[in-house]
Each structure stands twice: as C-alpha cells, then as structure tokens.
Symmetry: C2
C-alpha cells in the first residue's frame, strides 16, 4: 500500500492553491481562559463549499490525466464531499456524476445540482450506492473519487494543517476529527512530516468510535450503525486510512454527545462562527481531558460549517 | 450642540485601540455574484462583547476625568450597550451600574453580571428606567453613558468605519444600520470626514422607520411602539444623532422584514458567520434596491452577532 508523504502533500498544495481559500487561523481569549490553554482554530468552515473536503476533491480532479478528465469523475456521497467534488470538477471543466440516496435532504440535492453535477439517485443502502456507482463507471469510464479511501484526496486534506503550521509552527498538539479518516490521515502525515515532536490527536464521537477501537485494539474494526450528532463522522476507517493513522497518530480520544453539543454552542456564541457538529468534536476532547491539554498550544482543525438551521441541537 | 468631527473620531481611535479588536473586513464571491456588486463586510460581530457598542462604551469610559472614574458610570439598557459598558468599565477599574427591566432575558442579565457590573432592576417602562437611573446618579455621582445620545459614544462608534476605510478606501457606498443613530452618526462623520464622495447610507427596518421619516420630512419624529425582528433597531433618533445624520447622511433606505430575515440566512449560510438580525438590514437594502447598488463597491457595517439561538426566524 502506497502511503503519502509530506512531499506528496506539499505537491498537492502547490497544485490546488489557485483554487482553494487559504483559510484563517482564529483565536478566542475567552475560550483560552475557559480551557486554560491556547487554542488555534484552522477554519475550514470558510473553505469553498463550507468544508475541508474541497481540498481533497480538487487535488483528485487536478491529478487526473487528460484522458481521465475527458471521461469525468464519480462518487457516492450525500454530504460535503459530493458538493466539493461537483464544484472542483466544474471549475476544471470535468463532468461529475454523484450517486445519492433518494432520501437525501433536499438542501443537499440542491447544492450538488447547483454546482452542475449529474445526480443519480439510488436506494438508501451501501450496496445500492456501490452498485450504482459501478454501473456509472462502466458506462462512462468515469474515475471514482472516494471520499477518503483515496491517495490524492488524503494528500489534499493534509494541506489544511500545512497552512496551519505555516502560520503557527510552535504547537504542542494538532487535533483533527476522525470519520473515515481522510482528514486525519492527511493531517497526521503533514504534521509529523514537518515536526515529529508535535503530538497528533484524533477526536471521535464516543457513539461512533471505530477509529478509537481499531487504534487501541490493533485490528481494523468498523462501526455498526452508529448514531451521533456529528453526522460527518459516521463513516469508518478504510485499510488505507487505518494504516496511515496507525503510523502517525499519537492518540485518539472520544467525546460524549453532550460535550460535542456544548462545544458547538460555545464556538457559535463566543467566536460568532458557524461550525458543524463534527467540528465541535475537536474542542470537546479538550474539554473532557483538561489534564492533558492544560497550558498547551493546540491547533484544531475546524472541518466545516454546513448546518441545517432548522435542526439545531440547542 | 457640539457635533463630532473626524479629528474627534481619530482621537477616539487612538484612545481605544489598545482595548478593542481591529475587526476583519470579509468578502464573499458568492454574495457578490448574487447581488452584482462588491461587498465589504466590516465584522463588528467579532468585536468584544459581540458588537460595535464596545467601541463607544470604551471611548466614554476612557474620556472620564479621574474623579469621574472614581464615581463610576451608569446606563439603562438591556442590550449590547449594557454588556459593552460593563466590560469597558471593568477593564479600566471603573464601577458600572446597569439599570435593566426586570423582565430582561436571563442570558442578558447573566452576561452583564458576568462582566462584574452592578445591576439594578426596575419595572419595564421607560419612565421607571429613567427614574432608577437618576436615583443612582444622585446617590453615587456616577456619570450617565447613554447608549447613543452621547458625544463620546458616537466618536467611538465612528472608529469602525475609520478602520474599514483604512483597509478599503475606494468605496462608492458605506451602509450602516440605524436605530438610535449612534453608529450612523459616527459612521457618517467618519466617512464624510475622510472622503466626501463616498455616499453614506442608513439602513432601517420598514417597521421601525423613524429615521427615514425624520430624514425625509425634516422633523424629528420618534417611532411609537415599533415591532421588528431587528431588535437592536427599535430605538429612535435623539436631537443629537438626528442633527448629525441630517448633515452627513446621503440617503436612508428601509428594508422589509422578509428581506432582513432572508439576508440574515444568506450571510449565515454562505459566509458561515453569526450576525444578529439588525446587521442583516444593511444587506437587505442592497437586495431591495439593485438598481442603486449594481456594480458598486460597498462597505457594510455588520453591527453585532448576539443572537438567541432558540428563537431563530428561519
């Protein structure tokens, strides 16, 4: 299995830089006082399509050969990756096919359609999604861009922490959320490639703790039907992301649902920025482990800001 | 009546600069495309206490004589000005007395108390508020810091557009919301003092349009019991703010409630920042008057970001 290196991530950054936002690193004196540490939030909620996913999708599209570009890309997703791939493809004149479950929220269907992608609906099962995707690949020759089990996607996601360390290099910790592990794989490769002494931490909802179990048991163990408010973190690690995380990540901590909700509210109220529940997980583990993080300098990857305002947990 | 000049505002800025945040000026390509113009949002939702009010309150506190500082300050307000004065006073070792109606929201009482102010509750009428305030002034010798009918407060509020023009000088328009007129007075003095050719526009809810009526009729005409989602803009102009606005402002436009709500949602969804309804009024008038603003460069003062998430209008 080919694992990405810091060189791959630096190359990805040069490639995608003209297309992405270099997002800001924000601080809050009030949150620093509340948690007795120095927090540096890398705000990918301000990234295009409102999530870090645009980095990986753009790198995947730009890494296609001319012939592959002509045939288009395909993915199955109802979340941020679908919108990210749709926009990245459109910006590069590539056709995007998105397979979505027929019961996906209307707002997500609209977002993807708005970026000019062709949507194919399927039954809301993993099997139906994979079969429909395979069918499209056979018919069109489109290249599959998996949301996280993809070398180029992982390299793109790693560019967020590359920028973070460029602005703030003297960190003790970098924390990123863990779902399928694409962001965590990119982040850990990036951080350890720049400075091995920075501890890299994964933040996972307790209710979807497959990465924690896999990491501590030494055996890849997917979640079964997890339920968490952090709806971007329901997916499980793949062989590829598990291998990278095993090599590079120092620790995975889990966060309780009430911590995630409380930290989401804290960031909304105090920092006046909109983040999605998945992003609050990184602050939730700081809140739950004060002895680990006291007086430390901590970089936190805020993964995105796409929220349904009609379904707020507070 | 002594009206402030650009020199007063520059002096206020030097005075308050060590205490305030120099807030960012943000743009959104998507909103620019949607409204066919270039929008530059001066984000006072990121100011301390989450609103521009901290500028005026800080300038008022720093302008006190040593003897006045010893006797403290007092104001009656249940909103952002109360929290702003409480914090500005605490940061300068000055005692703050805040008169609040007994039915003020618990969250606002807590915020003010959290900044160490002494709260005196009164019946929820203007008469009770003014009497209670007068009583405290007589008893303690505290200086009244009115939310907007105050020279030093107005000079402080004007520093937001001073910073905006420092970063982005070639604007065609600057738009600020109008409530009691403190921000509008400071903004218009500041902008016209720097560049007379920039048009200064007031944005007011149609449902609380006292400034529009006063401005167009030439007679100061307070609102009677106005109702609008923009709860920071319920107050009416004073003699002082009316005089300044009459001299400096080019036009006042009103915005419908549905425009205010739609623009608030647009900014939340697209810019991922939390703004209060009053702040959305500035974008709402751009939305309602496309022929005026097409292809123009527009600075917009986002007044604050203090929102009750349990009472969202969308």
């Amino acid at each position: 299995m080919l694992l990405p290196t810091i060189t791959d991530i630096r190359e990805a950054h040069s490639r995608i830089k003209p297309y992405i936002h270099w997002t800001p690193v924000l601080s809050s004196q009030l949150l620093n006082e509340l948690f007795n540490c120095s927090l540096f939030f890398k705000c990918e909620n301000f990234q295009k399509v409102g999530a870090f996913k645009f980095r990986g999708a753009t790198n995947a599209v730009l890494s296609l050969t001319p012939e592959e570009k002509r045939r288009g890309v395909v993915t199955h997703s109802s979340g941020n990756h679908a919108a990210a791939l749709a926009l990245a493809a459109r910006m590069n004149g590539v056709k995007a096919n998105i397979v979505m479950p027929e019961n996906a929220p209307v707002v997500k269907k609209k977002a993807v359609a708005g970026y000019g992608a062709e949507i194919t609906f399927c039954k809301p099962t993993l099997q139906a999604r994979e079969e429909t995707t395979r069918m499209i690949m056979e018919k069109t020759g489109a290249t599959l861009v998996h949301p996280y089990d993809n070398f180029n996607v992982i390299c793109g996601q790693g560019t967020a922490s590359l920028e973070l360390l460029d602005e703030k290099s003297d960190l003790d910790f970098v924390i990123a959320p863990v779902g399928g592990g694409g962001l965590m794989s990119g982040t850990s490769t990036s951080v350890k490639g720049i400075n091995k002494s920075i501890r890299v931490i994964g933040a996972e909802p307790l209710n979807a703790n497959d990465a924690f179990i896999s990491f501590t048991s030494g055996t890849l163990t997917p979640s079964v039907n997890p339920h968490t408010i952090a709806d971007g973190l329901l997916t499980s690690l793949s062989e590829l992301t598990y291998s990278i995380i095993k090599n590079n990540v120092d620790e995975i901590y889990t966060a309780k649902e009430e911590s995630i909700i409380e930290c989401m509210l804290l960031i909304w109220e105090r920092m006046k920025i909109i983040i999605e529940p998945s992003s609050a997980t990184v602050l939730a583990i700081v809140r739950e482990n004060p002895e680990v993080f006291r007086n430390k300098k901590i970089g936190l990857i805020i993964s995105g800001g796409n929220v349904d305002f009609r379904k707020l947990p507070f």
